[in-house]
Amino acid sequence: MVEERMNTDKMWITMGPQHPFSHGLWTLRVHADGEIITDAEPEIGYLHRGWEKECENRTYAKIIPMADRLCYSASMTWSHVFCKVAEEALDIEVPERAQYLRVIADEICRIQSHLMWLAAVGTDLGNLTVFLWALREREFFLDLNIRLCGQRLTTNYPRIGGVRNDMPYYFERDCMRCVERFETVGLPEIMKLATDSSPFVGRMQGIKYLTAKDVANWGVTGPAMRGCGVDYDVRRDDPYDAYGEIDFEVPVLNKNNPKGGDAYDRFLVRLEEMYQSCEIIRQAFQKLQSIPKEAPSRVKVPRCIPAGTHMAKIEDPRGESIMYLVSDGTEKPWRLKVRSPIFVNVSSSKHMVDGVRIADVPAIMAMIDMCLGETDR
């Protein structure tokens, strides 16, 4: 009798599209047995803008500001990867000064993107202080963006064959001050609330171990993959621009650990990446000293790209981003395909949240650092 009246099924909970944990518009439907999740199903597509199709009606130069709009916090790397695929197609070598400028701009972008992520982790775990402190530090880097290219987020800085403009006066001084402040004062203060706080760490430690094999099979890239023991970074393994001449360490945790990494490892990898980015910026400025200020930072490129297919990949703050270009020899691309790291990462969320509690879902998904602009395109 009781069984007939009481429906004791597991329930589907729809987290999203307007849900505080989903940064952006996407839905994670979880099948919950009480508080334990047994199954999950990500649903995306709420933000589909037809980006790839729109590009087919734009000349190559006009696609660069559109590539900024793929992801609000990684705009520099997205326009960079588009410029790279166009240069690949034209077979053009970028001037050395422009290469270093791009590296500096990319790393500023990486730091501010990771700070946005740190802020999001703070709200996901319920601490608004981390959110606001991280955003405070991010403002300094956004100010650097304004100085360098005139806008905070939609930078529109790289160009096919170089960069938009050379650095402004005193940019090196401002940048080094900002980086030093960040390394010695800014990030350590936030880390006192995060890595030094046992309630904060307790929310992430031991949550959902993912093995290197699984992560590699799902195609997860970026810090989420390096935290689980896969030692791969495009900047080091397939160096582009000036990354080959810069000495930096790729943070990898649990390299030989058969158990894999938990959410806390994926958290730590991103923090260390911010420190390494500071180091890269410092070295890039040192290398820039030897290049004269009048050296070219942009070359003139033809409007039309010869017919053929080309591919370029760079290390986005969120993972490996690839653009694939099919050109028919006109001044507009015939097809431009984007491989977004988050699209692949989020498709593995079904396995990532399997068997955890509902309260752990924000902690796990925060480590992916969702950005829906590039996922839905």
């Binding site: 508080e35 601490n127 706080s197 309630p199 309260a359």
Partner: protein, 388 residues
Amino acid sequence: MGLSILDWIVFKNPMANEYYPFGDMYNLPYEIGYKLSEIILGFVAWFLNLFVHDNLWSQWLVSDVVMNVLAIILLVVVIFGVGFIVNLTMIWEERKILGRLMDRRGTQIGPLGYFQCLGDGLKTFMKENIAPKAIDKKIYWWGLALVIGTSVLLACMVPLSGRWFIADYKVGLLILFGMFALAPFLILCAGWAQNNKFSLIGGMRAAELMISYEVPMLIILATSCLLAGAYGINDLVQFQNDHLWFVIPEIIGFFTFFVCAIAESERVPFDLSEAEAELVEGWQTEYAGMKWGLIMLADYFRGYVACAFIVLLFLGGWAMPFAGTDTWYAEIWFLFKVCAVFAAFVWARGAFPRVRTDQIINIGWRVLMPLSILNLVVVVAIKLMGWM
């Protein structure tokens, strides 16, 4: 009675009233209410008397019965008004301290941003009042009303001093605590009635929380009463004034009770039942508009009561060192202490993230429970040795 208004408004001693409800105890808000009702009723009676000399209505209006009834109504209004203003002050305090903590400015409207919560209340009031179709109507509305009602009642029942109380029970602490512990049950009901999965889980979590925190809290409460030898709030405060604030002998209990009080008032490190990161708004998800606003207000009333508990049990209540319990500023001193304890609540909110359900049960049973029993052992030892 003459034609002069001063014949009608004479400001009698309220304790001389035949129906004075508090026996031989002086009650300040009652006196305020009594004075106000004398002014109101005396004026009306005088006015009627101008037309019909020596009429019965005027005589009846200034009689002891009518005066007492109106005085009691005004007493309730005064006590609630003070509680409400304290509540608004605490909301303002929280937002301002959190603002400083997060390196921003906090509220802005009015002097030092004090009127921001009035503005927010107005805004919430203008929201559409939505109730979903498939709810369990009776429990939905009664749960809401009881959550708010018990919280407000509770806040009114907290005495601010020996002369500022609504009723003086010999077992005052137990009654307060009983009312305090009622809220999670009502939250469970309200969460169930909303026909929403998020609010259901939120309600379940509230019950989970109640089980793991009520027990250590009650043990510590009983320990304090054991130390004072009484359940009455007045006796407890008087005992602390005569001997020592309980925060010193019961230092373990103080910190344990502090954690429990945060959990009991469902504030951020332990606000599992309304964890917005995973459960949207927890058990309040389907309460839209002013319903939500009133729930938030009730939350702060409960926070106020939790702080008042800490002050009464450990920090000597309204007792001022070297001045005793009968000072003219006793109420202000008590509320100051409450706000200071609340600042520590806000501090904890700013510093920590929300804990998980399994962690909260672990902390409750494995840490706080043994600590509260250790506290009991210490107090029993003190009592046995006869130190206090």
